[in-house]
Structure formats: C-alpha cells, structure tokens
C-alpha cells in the first residue's frame, strides 16, 4: 500500500490547522460565514422536516450568504461513523459534515470521543431567548451539553390512536397491556434499537416503576435487575399480543402511521405531539386519528444540532444553529401545518410581537394543548437505554 503511505507521510507534514472561529465574536463569525457551504446531516425520513430544512436553507442564504445543503440520513449514526472514519484517517480539517441533527446516545458517543467543536451554543446571540429554566436544553439524556450542541426543537411522547377503532385514551402502560390482551395484533412499536422503539421501552419502565428517579443516575449492576424487573414481566405478557405476535416489528416510527392507515394496527407511539395532525394533512393518517398521553406524564427531550470538530464551515454552521433558535424559525417549526415541533424558546422574554405570532398558531386537529400534554418526564441516563436495548434484543429481537 504505497500510495496511502506516501499520502499519510505528506499529510504528516501538512500545514497546521487554521484557527477556529470564536463564537462570542459574532461579527467575525458572520463575516467568515459569508459564502460558506454548510452540509447539514439530518434524518431524511420525514417529508415535513425535509421541507422545513429547505426553507431554512433559503432564509440563511438570503440573510447571511450561507449555502445550506441537507444531507438526508436514514440513520444519524451514519454521520457519527463518517466523522470517526475521518478522524481515523487523520482528516482533521474540512470534513464532509458541518452540522448534525443529534441527541442522546449519538451525542454522548461523539462528545466522549472528542469529535465535536465547541463549546459554542450558549454564546450564540439567540441563546438569550432559550428557555433554560423551563426546558431540558442544557442536558441531553441527563448528559450535560456544555455548549457542544444547540437546541432547536422540543419533543414529547404521545400515543396516536385511531378513534374509529380505539375510541378512548389509555391512561397507563398497564391499561395498554390490558387493551392489547383483549385486542391481540392491534398494537406494535418500532423495533429497538430504533430510537422510538427504545423510547417505548423507557416510557414503559418509567410508567411501571415505583421510583423512576434512580434512572437519572448511570446504570448500576447492583440495582439493574430489580429496577427493570417490572419492565420485563410487562413485556413478557405484552409481546405475544402484539402485531404479528411480536415476530416482526415496524423498523421506524413513521412506518407505524402507514400500518394504522392500512388498518393493521390501532395504536402507535410518537415523539412529536403534532405528528398526527401533520400526517392527517398529508393523507398519511385517517382523520379519525387523535393523540393522548399517560396519566403520570410522558418522556420529553430536546433535539439539538452539533458541529463536528473537523468541519470546514464552523462559522456557517453556527449561523445556521443561531437561525434555528430565532423566533422566526421557531414559530414556523411549531406551526402544525408545516412541522409542528414545539419551541425551545421562553415566551416571557420574547418581544410582544413575536409572542403574538406564537399565540396565533392554531392547534392541529389531533394535537393536545400544552395543559393536556401534562407532566414532562426526564430522559433516563443514556446507559440505561443502552443496557435495556441490548437486553431487549437478546430476549425478543432474535427470538425466531
């Protein structure tokens, strides 16, 4: 392998890295961002999200001269792999990825492996509007973000049901189990480790636990079995009553919507309170679909954007991250007819004019009001999810 060896030797003597932009010096960032192209790697499975990102691209191009390219991922981990491969190969400058839509375990992996640029998020001008006190925007699955990722949307678990077949909301995991037993084959969830499927497992664990607060600390061998025992006995009863007797699962969240429309299932989990309304408008759900939350509350978390350490357009990426936190972008994202993601901003600090725009948004037909959404439960530490996922796969994922 002569060629790579020579090239590696050449790169070893290459010029040292140019200085990274300083986020607190915003004018310099803006000047540097002018003309840069930002490759934003974001999950491309949702038409509504893709359209929103295209709009963001138009806006940052008009105002800041930044060109935004949406790289549509089928799995965010692809982007993590890419940055890792670049680091392996010693490509520490001008990597292929400038920004990633990220949270949870992917963020934790990248942060621990020093693959991220930052801190930058809390120096961005629009950080002043962010609801730091009321929303979990400084921790990501309990891991402190420390400014290495900027929040842009809030998510909360809701359950979508087709009222034509399942008219009443179900208030707890136990009720879901009872209903599924008397209506076998009408419920399923995305197959873990799909993030939404894993979310269902976490949601079940929290709802069934006497004391979910232990989940805020990293998993501990001493208490793991005892803490997760209710979850496994729940799943042992639930699985045989699932769609296809649990011998097959939908691979992603949106796939469940298709199953409802195909008449195959009546109940699905979602991480976006507005997803059902948007899907009805897009013909993806029957107009009899509605949503509910559990009586004790449901899991909530934030979506973030992070910048890889070797991006060649860090200034441009920060400009986009800052724009995503602007009232203009946030009000558009929250509009159920467009995207329906809840805002990360604090209404109290917005100008009257901006607040009026949020107030003017109409709720979608299947969307719950903030009051109806009830208690937002905190995400467990990522180590719980990793361990539960692995055990679920061992118990149910290779069963046949």
């Amino acid at each position: 392998m002569r060629v790579p060896f020579l090239a590696a030797a050449f790169f070893a003597f290459a010029i040292p890295a140019a200085a990274d932009p300083e986020p607190s010096d915003w004018d310099t960032v803006l000047a540097e961002a002018q003309g840069q192209t930002v490759y934003w790697n974001a999950w491309g499975g949702s038409t509504a999200t893709n359209d929103f990102i295209m709009w963001v691209g138009e806006r940052v191009s008009e105002d800041f001269g930044v060109t935004l390219e949406h790289v549509k991922l089928s799995d965010t981990a692809d982007a993590v792999s890419r940055v890792l491969a670049e680091k392996t190969a010693g490509k520490d400058e001008d990597g292929a990825i400038d920004m990633i839509w990220i949270n949870g375990a992917n963020f934790n992996s990248m942060k621990q492996a020093d693959l991220l640029f930052g801190p930058f998020a809390e120096q961005l001008p629009n950080w002043q509007f962010v609801d730091v006190a009321g929303k979990t925007v400084q921790t990501d699955f309990t891991v402190p973000t420390e400014g290495f990722e900027a929040p842009w949307a809030m998510a909360q678990v809701v359950f979508i049901h087709d009222t034509a077949r399942l008219s009443e909301p179900l208030g707890s995991m136990t009720e879901i189990l009872d209903w599924s037993k008397s209506n076998p084959g009408r419920f399923t969830f995305p197959q873990p480790p799909d993030f939404l499927g894993s979310t269902f497992l976490k949601q079940a664990l929290i709802d069934l636990s006497e004391d979910p607060s232990v989940l805020q600390n990293p998993v501990d061998d001493a208490n793991y079995d005892a803490v997760t025992a209710p979850l496994w006995s729940f799943l042992d009863e639930l699985t045989p009553t699932l769609w296809r007797q649990g011998r097959a699962y939908p691979q992603t969240g949106p796939r469940q919507l298709q199953l409802i429309t195909d008449g195959e299932i009546d109940l699905a989990i979602s991480f976006s309170p507005n997803e059902a309304s948007t899907a009805i408008a897009n013909f993806q759900l029957p107009d009899t679909a509605r949503t509910f939350v559990l009586e004790k509350g449901t899991l909530g978390n934030a979506s973030f954007v992070a910048i890889p350490y070797n991006s060649g357009s860090k200034a441009g990426a920060m400009v986009v991250a800052n724009f995503l936190m602007s009232p203009e972008a946030q009000v558009r994202a929250q509009d159920p007819s467009i995207l329906g993601y809840n805002t990360v901003l604090n209404m109290a600090v917005l100008s009257t004019e901006d607040r009026a725009k949020f107030d003017a948004l109409e709720l979608g037909i299947a969307t719950l009001t903030p009051a109806e959404l009830g208690t937002v439960q905190a995400e467990p530490h990522p180590s719980w999810m990793t361990r539960i996922e692995a055990d679920w796969i061992k118990k149910y994922g290779v069963s046949e």
């Binding site: 392998m1 790579p4 295209m54 392996t88 990825i97 076998p184 007797q245 949106p254 796939r255 008449g263």
Partner: protein, 569 residues
C-alpha cells in the same frame, strides 16, 4: 511490420494492468481495513491488541445461527429457482413468438432497482396489500387485514421470492447474450429432427454450452442473494435479520465498539459466500456427471409439455409481480388518502411529485453523471483488456480475471469502510471523482461479465479474413469486431449504468453523503415509510436505469435491421 507490433504492444498491454489496479487497489485496501478490526486492531477506538475476542463476541451473538441460515437458504433458493425458471423459459420457448414477448417483458425489468421492486412486491403480497384488497372483504370476509406474517417471515420466503423476481431478468439477459454467441438454434433443430422434445433437446444439446458462459453471472447471483441489504431490509425478517443486515446495524450502532464486531461479521459473511460457491461448484460437477449419463441414455422426452407450461407460467408470474408492483408505486406517488380495503386511492393528486420536484431533478442529474462516467470508463477498460488479451495472447485470462469478480463476491460492507479510510488518507475524499471510481469497482465486473464471453466467443475467422484483405488490427477492431458486437456492448453498458444507478453504500460512504443520487435519496426517504415519496423516488430511479436498456434493445434492431444474425442482444 515488426516495429509496428512493438508500438501495438506498448499501446494496449498496460490496459489489463490498469484495470486490475483499479479493482485490486480499493478492494485489498478495503479488506485490510476490515480484517484488522476483526482481529481487534482499530487505533481510532484505542484498541491495538490482536486477539480473537471479537470473533468470540460474534459467536456469542444469539442470532448468529439464524442469520447464517437465512443467508444460506435465501442464497441457494433464489439462485437455483431463478436459474431453473430461466432455463425452462429458454428451453421451452426460445425462437417462438411467446418467447419474444416474454423477453420484451422481462429484459427491461432488470433495470428496476432492487429497492423499488421490493417495495412494489411488498405492497402486493402483504396482508393489507393489493392482492388481499382485491379479494376483501367480499370473498375473504377480512374487514381488517389478517394478522399473518407474510412479509418479513422468519424463513425469508418473501425475501427469496422478491430476489427471484429480480434475478430472473438478470439471468435471462445473460442467457440471451450467450445465445447470440452460440449456434444453439441449429443444435436444437438437429435435436428435434432426431425426435427429441423441445425442452429435453435443448437441455441436452444447448444448455451445457450456455451454462459454461453464464457460470460467473450465476455465482454473482448466488453471492448477491446471500449478502443483499436493501431487499432484506424491506422483505426479510428482523428477529433476527440476515447476517448482512445485522452487519450494517452494528456498523451504525452509536456504540462505536460494535464496529469491531461488524468487521468480524463481514469477514464471516465473506467466508460464507466462498463456502457456498464451493458447494455450488460441487453441485455443478454432480449435475454434469448425472447429465452426461442422461444424455447418453438418449431418452427423447421428459415431461416436455408440462415443463414448457411451468416455465412459461413462472415467467409470466415473475414479470407480473414486478410490473404490478411498479403500478402500485405509480399509484402511490399520485395517491391522496388510501386505506385498507380500498383497491384505489380516495383521490389523486400531484402533490407528492410537486413537493419532490427540485430535489428530484438535482438527484437525477447527479445520478446520470456518475453512472455515465463510470460506465464509459468501464467499457473502455473492458474492451481494452479483451482486445489486448486477444492480440497478444496475454494470459490475463480466466484465473486472474476471477480477481475482477471479487467485488461482486465480497459483501459491500466488508470492504467499503476500509476503502473510505483509504480515500480519506489520500485526501481524495470529496467530490464526484472518487465516487465515480468507486462505482467503477462495481460497474467494471458487471460490464466485464456481460461483455467478456460474447467478445471472446466472437468468431476470429472474420479477423483472419479481414487481415488477409489487408486490414490492420485496429481496423479489424473498429470496423468489424465492435460493430458485430454492438448488441452485447450496448447491453453491457446498460447493465453498467443500472448497476451504478442502484449503488447505495458506495455513494453514501465515499461521497460522504454530499453526493445525493436518486438511490441515496430513495433509501433515506424509505426510512420514513411514506409510500407516496417512496413511489416518486422509486419511479425516478427506475426510469434512470430503464433508458439505457431501451437503447440497448432498440438500437441494434434499428441499425442491423438488414442483418438478421446480429439483431439479438
């Protein structure tokens, strides 16, 4: 004359080496990048100690047995059944009007990308799919779709059926290319004059020579069916999935240490494919042995009528499953709300197409550029190699050329990540060129497979005659050989184009996701399960691959309308 030959040698002799380098360099570097982590060496993750621990954890994965079993059964079943169908169709019907109709129906279906075909097929056969809707509820009484596991069944039968539907057109095209280079028709006429039935006569007198020409494509089908990812994701089981799908899952795990296990799995998949080929080879020897005795016995008939009907029916079902599947994609791309058990959507709308408009045309442009460039390079190198082999009797020939087929036999997941690292190290990671060169690694073997045998089987007495009339080797190549081989050359180009259009992992990994082709877009959107958008991109992808095949079929027929023997592709 002598000096001229020296120049000749200089001009052509390096092409085979260049071709081998274009293939071997990336492949070996990529494999090294796979082998090292499989034995625990991955400095980026801080592991440098060589050991067998990774293989131990692979063996400890509880799904391993099922994943391996699935890989083996789908591979053998899909290959054997598609080969059987193609053989029966050709044996029973070649030369008839029905055969030409079937050929016209099946050949273009080769260009339908696997993912699009699989989506269409799934919508046909699932419990809430089109067939069930046609019969419900008036006949079946199913107000709700029955809760039965048809798609994603644990035995991989749906997946095998989907693969067969796609491999029959591929093998048929290969058989047709081989037929145009053999005197099968005459042999069959002689056999029939001796009282042999159509099928029996063809099997006894033509099949042996045809099979020797399509052996490598058959191996490719075997390797492909064992390690396919996209079809397996759509139609295959998930508890557990096939080995190759599981490798991709490990590759994508946010816990980066699973990358080691993925490498070990990739190596295992590689060895599994090699073992399967050896078994298939033994099967060939057995069939040859038994076949020879059967031929010698001289029996004139063997269920000829039944076999003809079976072959024709199987061909029609194959064509219908893809065509109806595509029709499903067309409808979905225009569908408004469409629920079970409605046979048609409530309303039609252009919205899905309008929403995709800009992204769709960009992706189509990118797809065309990459496919056209890689195919042209591949055809140039292939013809150069074959011509050099012919002119100088260079013994690059069969054995060394087997190396050329490695990229088709090595699962893509086994060497692409390593290849990505190689390109990054040389600083060549961005832009279109590396992606084109990586596509070349996959396009070249298909072009070679498609063109090599027809090229070699060309009757060189034409060249002798031309030389006697004073034509130099170049003139023979350009004025006689290539024009006579127009149909196979165009077919090879169309195959290369379709292969490039269908590439997902190479485009994604080497292009760093920055190059968006119809296929990368379609697979990314498929994650969302929105059948409307899948329909739009699946159709766009199909169209991109279809055009070259139309040209490959129509152009020779037009140019050689007065040369009967040259018309067949």
């Amino acid at each position: 004359m002598n000096g001229r030959h020296q120049t000749e040698r200089f001009r052509f002799a390096w092409l085979p080496y260049l071709t081998l380098f274009a293939m071997l360099g990336p492949l070996l570097a990529g494999l090294a990048g796979t082998v090292a982590p499989a034995f625990g060496y991955m400095p980026a993750l801080g592991t440098r100690d060589l050991s067998l621990d990774v293989f131990r954890s692979l063996m400890a994965w509880p799904g391993l047995y099922d994943a391996v079993r699935l890989s083996v059964t789908t591979g053998f079943l899909a290959t054997a059944i598609s080969l059987g169908i193609v053989t029966l169709i050709t044996a029973g019907w070649v030369g008839t009007k029905s055969f030409r109709i079937l050929e016209r129906l099946l050949s273009p279906l080769l260009s339908v990308p696997h993912a699009a075909a699989a989506f269409g097929f799934a919508f046909l056969i699932m419990p809430s799919g089109w067939i069930a809707r046609l019969l419900s509820p008036w006949l079946t009484g199913w107000d709700r779709p029955p809760d039965v596991l048809i798609v994603q069944d644990p035995y991989g039968l749906a997946m095998t059926a989907g693969l067969i539907a796609k491999e029959v057109p591929f093998l048929l095209l290969m058989v047709l290319a081989a037929l145009s280079q053999s005197n099968g028709t005459r042999r069959q006429i002689v056999a029939q004059a001796l009282g042999y039935g159509r099928v029996t006569g063809w099997l006894k007198t033509v099949f042996p020579s045809i099979y020797s020409q399509i052996r490598l494509p058959v191996y490719v089908v075997l390797a492909y069916s064992m390690s396919v990812v996209d079809v397996a994701i759509i139609l295959g089981p998930n508890t557990p999935p096939t080995l190759s799908v599981q490798i991709i899952k490990w590759m994508n795990d946010p816990d980066l240490s699973f990358r080691l296990q993925a490498a070990a799995g990739a190596l295992a998949q590689f060895l599994l494919v090699i073992a399967a080929m050896l078994v298939w080879r033994m099967g060939e020897l057995f069939v040859a042995f038994a076949g020879r005795r059967w031929i010698v016995r001289g029996r004139r008939q063997l269920l000829d009528k039944t076999l003809r009907t079976v072959g024709f029916t199987a061909g029609v079902i194959t064509a219908a499953s893809i065509i109806l599947g595509l029709a499903g994609l067309v409808l979905w791309s225009f569908a408004g709300f469409w629920s079970y058990p409605d046979i048609l959507p409530d309303n039609l709308s252009l919205r899905s197409w309008a929403r995709s408009g800009a992204g769709l045309s960009d992706a189509a442009f990118e797809t065309m550029i990459i496919a056209f460039a890689s195919t042209l390079i591949a055809v140039f190198l292939t013809i150069g190699c074959l011509e050099a082999e012919y002119r100088y009797n260079l013994r690059i020939t069969r054995r060394s050329l087997l190396i050329l087929y490695l990229p088709l036999m090595v699962p893509q997941t086994a060497f692409l990540p390593g290849l990505q690292t190689l390109l990054l190290t040389t600083g060549a990671d961005t832009g279109r060129l590396p992606v084109i060169l990586t596509h070349l690694v996959f396009v070249l073997p298909y072009v070679f497979l498609s063109l090599g045998d027809p090229f070699r089987s060309w009757d060189t007495r034409y060249a002798t005659t031309a030389s006697a009339l004073g034509a130099g080797p170049d003139r023979v190549l350009w004025r006689i050989r290539l024009p006579m081989l127009l149909a196979p050359v165009l077919t090879a180009m169309a195959v290369g184009f379709a292969v490039s259009v269908g590439q997902y992992l190479p485009t994604l990994l080497i292009g760093g996701g920055r190059l968006q082709t119809l296929t990368t877009e379609a697979v990314a959107l498929a994650a969302g399960g929105d059948r409307r958008v899948i329909g739009v991109y699946g159709l766009a992808q199909t169209t991109a691959a279809l055009l070259p095949f139309l040209i490959a079929i129509l152009l020779p027929a037009f140019l050689w309308r007065n040369r009967k023997a040259l018309r067949h592709g």
